[in-house]
């Protein structure tokens, strides 16, 4: 089975994250790049599927050249090879154009199943899985907390407020996963050393069949018009219970339109 796992490098959530003042995109140089947390679950699930069904796990990353660190981490966890889509023309792509670029690349490299985290900690749109599936013309099985594959049949379970949904489809398909799905492994030393020898193919937009006019800032359908720092948190309100605490709390909630 040809498993492709999409992995994104994001700014470390532990450091201060900024937007650039010139083009209002994320300042990727300002913060340390780390693997997006949910992508680790996606890699783990890809490896578990490979261990159960055989095949090969390919990491697909779209991102600047420093994203190679993140690719190495996924390879150290156990993925077999990687494709790095890197091109200055991609800078500033929004969710729609990213899904176009990734879909074109996936068509180029081929896949039976594409696995990705359900969202990234930077943009947090959570749109990519659905958009990819649409562009590739394959089923989407999103927010999975369990994945089963049997031949060409694929089924996922999705936790909901009322129980769980079971979604079934046939391969090829796109699956997005949530963190309940597994416990991502830490790379072993053997894995770290082996990762250096694994092939990483670098693709520019031309090689991936991507039309330059549809990606990057110019090709984006959404635009950041303005941004401002979040206001500092205001002091809270303390309701002291002098026999009327319940009323006080209710009045406070009502004043904020919660009740």
């Amino acid at each position: 089975m040809n498993i492709v796992v999409c992995v994104k490098q994001v700014p470390d959530t532990a450091t201060e994250r900024k937007l650039r003042s010139d083009d209002k995109t994320l300042d990727r140089d300002a913060a340390d790049g780390v693997i997006n947390e949910l992508c680790e679950y996606a890699v783990e699930e890809a490896l578990l599927l490979k261990e159960a069904h055989g095949g090969e796990v390919t990491v697909l990353t779209m991102g600047p050249s420093k994203a190679t660190d993140t690719i190495r981490k996924a390879l150290a966890m156990g993925a077999d090879k990687a494709v790095h889509l890197v091109d200055d023309a991609l800078h500033g792509s929004d969710a729609l154009s990213t899904s176009y670029a990734m879909a074109q690349t996936l068509k180029t490299i081929g896949f039976d199943v594409v696995i990705l985290g359900s969202e990234s900690t930077d943009a947090r749109t959570g749109l990519l899985a659905a958009m990819l599936a649409e562009r590739l013309g394959v089923p989407q099985l999103t927010q999975a907390n369990k994945v089963d594959i049997d031949g060409t049949a694929i089924a996922i379970q999705r936790l909901t407020d009322y129980g769980h949904d079971k979604v079934e489809a046939s391969l090829p398909a796109v699956v997005s996963v949530v963190e309940k799905i597994n416990e991502p492994r830490y790379p072993s030393f053997k894995g770290i050393m082996a990762a250096k020898k694994k092939p990483v193919q670098t693709l520019g937009i031309a090689e991936a069949g991507i039309d330059a006019s549809q990606v990057g800032l110019a090709g984006a359908w959404s635009e950041v018009v303005d941004f401002a720092a979040a206001p500092p948190r205001a002091a809270g309100t303390i309701v002291t219970d002098q026999g009327d605490g319940g009323t006080g709390a209710a009045e406070f909630l009502a004043s904020k339109k919660f009740i």
């Binding site: 030393f189 770290i192 050393m193």
Partner: protein, 385 residues
């Protein structure tokens, strides 16, 4: 080697993340309950941390002893119980088997030890003597009908009583040498062997989430082929094991010393007194500067000892120096970090309180500070005066 290559750095970083994300949030509770953290051990096993210096063909990671040291340092930055569990399992349990064991012994045990599924222990110290292990040894093993019959008691043995303890390598007197001195050999005693009793856990000052036991052997019988390596080589085996172990304990000590720096740096920015964060005051700044100096020099000392060890050069002196310098650094830093934390430093819920309790043993285990000085003096040719 003073600058880590990419592989070592990636390993260090991986374990740093593991210690921060997996160990730190839960270890305080294990410590409080004096409970062995099986879940953490299982995950460290899956990461291959128990197999670092063991070749891939024998189920290990194909790394080296320095890689193990880096891991011990990163673990001990967060917690020493977890670090000593790995240290004892690898350096005292698996390594003697790897170096001196027969092909059958290695095949039987090494893959499981390297995976952290089983832990090995090393029983040298006895109630009557640790520093003078050979002179104080009373445990005997006699060969009878193709079996070793072991009698005696061992004290303070790490990893000897866990649910996943595979065996204890027991140093015992197996006869008298031509020069009249006792002949010492090491015999592998699998957990659960009749006649081998593991007492309940000691109540310890520190390392509370690690497993330390007194062991007694009462006509305990194991097959003759459980002899580790050659008969009469027990003394030489443990000298070599302990030389390496000292570098590992030095690394672990550096981790604790670094943990004190990390915690203090964070705390002195947050805690205010007399209108400023306490880090504003030079008295506090100098404490931390001194802590940093001790950590840095101790790290250089163990890197250097490890470098000589890996190069196959004599490293006894360097190992003893590293162990001494690093355990002193850990002890001094723990004392100062606790001081910086004030009353909170005396509370078990803060890592520095744990560091304080865990530091002292570093000046005692695998050779006391006095023993290190004896070794250094001997290396300088002073013992024959």
């Amino acid at each position: 080697m003073h600058r880590l290559n990419d592989d070592y750095e990636a390993l260090r970083k991986t374990v740093e993340e593991f210690a921060r994300d997996v160990v730190a949030p839960v270890i305080g509770d294990y410590y409080e309950r004096c409970e062995f953290p099986y879940g953490i051990v299982r995950r460290m096993g899956a990461m291959g941390l128990f197999g670092l210096p063991i070749p891939e063909e024998q189920g290990g990671m194909g790394g080296d002893y320095f890689a193990l040291c880096l891991v011990l340092e990163e673990l001990a930055r967060v917690d020493s119980s977890v670090a000593i569990t790995v240290e004892a399992a690898v350096s005292l349990g698996a390594m003697p088997l790897f170096r001196f064991g027969t092909a059958e012994q290695r095949e039987r045990w090494l893959p499981k030890l390297a995976a952290g599924e089983l832990l090995g222990a090393f029983g040298l110290t006895e109630p009557g003597g640790g520093s003078d292990a050979a002179g104080g040894m009373r445990t005997t093993a006699r060969l009878e009908d193709g079996q070793w019959v072991i009698n005696g008691t061992k004290a303070f043995i790490t990893n000897a009583g866990t649910d996943i303890t595979g065996f204890v390598g027991v140093a015992a007197i197996t006869g008298t040498r031509e020069d009249g001195k006792p002949e010492i050999s090491t015999i592998l005693v699998p957990a659960g062997t009749p006649g081998f009793t593991v007492s309940k856990k000691y109540s310890k000052v520190g390392w509370s989430a690690s497993d330390t036991r007194e062991l007694s052997f009462d006509d305990c019988r194991v097959p003759e082929e459980n002899l580790l390596g050659t008969r009469g080589r027990g003394y030489a085996q443990f000298l070599q094991t302990l030389d390496e172990g000292r570098v590992a304990i030095a690394a672990l000590s550096v981790g604790l010393a670094q943990g004190c720096v990390d915690e203090s740096l964070r705390y002195v920015r947050e805690r205010e007194a007399f209108g400023h964060p306490i880090g504003h005051y030079q008295a506090i700044q100098f404490k931390i500067a001194d802590m940093e100096i001790r950590t840095h020099t101790a790290r250089l000392a163990y890197y250097h000892a490890a470098e000589k060890m890996l190069a196959g050069e004599p490293f006894k002196r360097e190992a003893a120096i590293a162990k001494l310098v690093a355990s002193n650094a850990a002890m001094d830093n723990a004392r100062e970090a606790t001081q910086i934390f004030g009353g909170y430093g005396f509370m078990n819920e803060y890592p520095v309180g744990r560091f304080y309790r865990d530091a002292k043993i570093l000046e005692i285990g695998e050779g006391t500070s006095e023993v290190q000085r004896m070794l250094i003096a001997r290396e300088l040719g002073l013992s024959s005066l």
